[in-house]
């Protein structure tokens, strides 16, 4: 098991390195950033001063080596725009993103798993059909459009909730709902199919044959088994959630890191964009790693063989 996890960790680090490298070169393929920052006709001499200052006078490879070296020293570069450390700029925004993401994630995991389990247990009934139709509808809905509809209804028509900003808890409701509906929908779908798969396994019949009451069959026999594939999927949804929050933060003017990213991308702020992507990739990779480990904890078949065949 330890060996298995070690290999996984190494692999994750390798993946992260590739992401960082690829992003570095792709972003740089766009040409000299100074031309998009300074107005036309700025004397080359002035530009050169900045080139030296920001270290973009060197060759691409040198820049890359310096960049990677700096990362190891915890230096993620300075923003071309306000001259502050990229790290500080992103960290300032992170709590709001974590608040939105964390709320959304926990609420939709609970709701999604519950709805999915209900749909599976009531298979073929009105409940099942209702929940599944809602689930498909929820991830066919463009999240930004759902956001606008909710704003239209709850903010502009009913005037119950604020449209933008993040100063009170009421501000959290609309963005979290928008993001969460889609997430809950897909989690419900996966939970349902995992649950259906488990319910027709022979060991569920064994549980019945033992005389276990219905709730016990579900809670002690079915759910732990259904959790295994569901956890993986939920882990993968984290990446989706981060992508979605970039859009939703923008629509609701939520002052989080996602919105920062959109702004930074618009003005081609290398350091901030790179750091954001690095953080997102690390988070997703870390989540997948945790899922793998959790998988091993939940599924006793893994710990012995090292990996599931």
């Amino acid at each position: 098991m330890t060996r298995y996890i070690l290999i996984k960790i190494l692999r994750s680090l390798f993946t992260l390195w590739i992401v960082v490298t690829a992003v570095f070169f792709v972003l740089r393929a766009s040409g000299d950033p100074l031309y998009s920052i300074f107005s036309l006709g700025t004397p080359e001499a002035t530009l050169d001063v900045f080139r030296v200052k920001w270290g973009i006078d060197k060759s691409m490879w040198q820049q890359y080596l310096i960049y990677v070296g700096d990362i190891f020293r915890g230096d993620f570069g300075t923003s071309f725009f306000d001259g502050r450390e990229a790290w500080d700029i992103v960290m300032e925004r992170l709590p709001k993103t974590l608040l939105l993401g964390g709320t959304t994630f926990s609420v939709s995991v609970v709701a999604g798993v519950m709805l999915g389990a209900i749909a599976a247990l009531k298979r073929g009934t009105f409940w099942d059909r209702g929940i599944m139709t809602a689930a498909v509808a929820s991830f066919s809905m463009p999240s930004y459009f759902l956001a606008l509809l909710l704003i239209l209804l709850f903010s502009l028509q009913l005037r119950w909730l604020p449209t933008a900003g993040a100063s009170t808890w009421q501000h959290l409701i609309l963005p979290a709902t928008t993001l969460g509906l889609t997430l809950a929908g897909s989690i419900a779908r996966f939970t349902r199919s995992a649950m259906l798969e488990v319910l027709r396994q022979p060991y569920m019949r064994t549980a019945r044959a033992k005389g276990a009451p219905y709730w016990r069959q579900i809670a002690w026999h079915a759910l732990p088994n259904a959790a295994i594939p569901t956890i993986t999927v939920i882990g993968f949804q984290l990446g989706w959630l981060i992508g979605g929050s970039v859009v939703i933060e923008t629509v609701f003017a939520w002052p989080g890191a996602g919105r920062l990213f959109i702004v930074a991308v618009g003005v081609r702020d290398f350091a901030v964009v790179q750091l954001f992507i690095l953080m997102v990739a690390s988070t997703v990779i870390l989540a997948n790693l945790l899922v793998d480990i959790l998988y091993g904890v939940l599924d006793p078949r893994i710990s012995v063989t090292g990996s599931k065949s």
Partner: protein, 304 residues
């Protein structure tokens, strides 16, 4: 119970024969009888495809024609005039005309993008399965990389930094989801290569290319097409999101997402600008999902 496929087939045929009327018979033959949701979804997709192909014939005005005396006019059903059936936007452009044009581009990008992803991913998957060894390792690593970065973030960064035109947009949107096809194709080819008949034709000395073209590809094509149908709504939504954020389709072209992005600023004054294209996209994605699920259940229940 191990019912032979031939039994199922004969039972199905019996049901078909029992169905009354030519339409009912055809529906039953395709497994569509009673599948109202799927039928409605198919009809909607049909209409959208028709509008995407021939909508320009119905377009009352050029989609770029502005009329500053006639801004933010409501659609007919909200008390507007018949000149602009679906109203006008902030520059007095006819919303119906813009919808028809945008629809065309959205569908085009969605379909081509999906095709790119499907072909690219499947090709890489087949290559990996064929060569195994380090080729396969590299591919799986690329898959890991792709999975570790939410695609929309990657797309936004590329479009903003590398620059943006229709070709780049289509390529970027097309890359989305390649890893799913790659995984699928790889595992299917791996198992197909173990099949007796493939081993047999191989021992007959048939070349690799011929084997893949004649024996392997036809067997995995169905699954890949189902996967593509399942991916299509995601690709359409991706393009619309990018355009909504202003990093997708650029003026003077327009797409549904872009119209929505403009309409967002006029949500109170002129909600129709945003709501109409939103509805079109939503029902399109929903319909394709419904048809995709139906196809999957019918052709390939093994796909998740």
């Amino acid at each position: 119970m191990a019912t032979e496929p031939s039994d199922i087939e004969s039972l199905r045929l019996a049901k078909v024969r029992a169905a009354r009327g030519p339409i009912a018979r055809r529906l039953t033959a395709w497994g569509l009888a009673g599948e109202w949701l799927v039928l409605i979804a198919m009809t909607y997709i049909g209409i959208i495809l028709f509008l995407a192909l021939f909508g320009f014939l119905l377009q009352p005005y050029p989609h770029t024609q502005t009329d500053l005396w006639n801004q933010l006019q409501p659609p007919v059903f909200m008390g507007g005039s018949w000149d602009n059936i679906l109203g006008t936007d902030d520059l007095g452009r006819d919303v119906l005309s813009r919808l028809l044009f945008g629809l065309r581009l959205s569908v085009l990008i969605g379909v081509i993008g999906t095709a790119i992803g499907a072909v690219l991913g499947s090709f890489l998957g087949i290559i990996a399965a064929h060569f195994r060894g380090w080729v396969e390792e590299i591919l799986m690593m690329l898959v890991d990389v792709q999975v570790s970065l939410p695609f929309i973030i990657f797309a936004l960064a590329v479009l903003a930094f590398v620059g943006n035109n229709l070709t780049i947009l289509i390529i970027v949107v097309g890359i989305d989801g390649w890893e799913r096809y790659a995984r699928l194709a790889r595992s299917m080819v791996l198992s197909a290569n173990q099949q007796d008949y493939v081993l047999a034709v191989r021992s007959l000395g048939l070349g690799n290319f011929q084997i893949y073209r004649r024996h392997v590809l036809p067997n995995i094509l169905g699954t890949l097409v189902v996967q593509a149908t399942i991916n299509l709504p995601g690709v359409i939504l991706l393009e619309s999101t990018l355009s909504f954020l202003g990093l997708g389709v650029q003026a003077p072209l327009t797409s549904l997402g872009q119209i929505l992005g403009v309409g967002r600023d006029y949500l109170i004054l002129a909600p129709w600008i945003a709501v109409l294209p939103g509805m079109v996209i939503f029902f399109l994605a929903l319909s394709i999902s419904i048809v995709g699920d139906w196809l999957r259940d019918r052709l390939d229940p093994t796909l998740k």
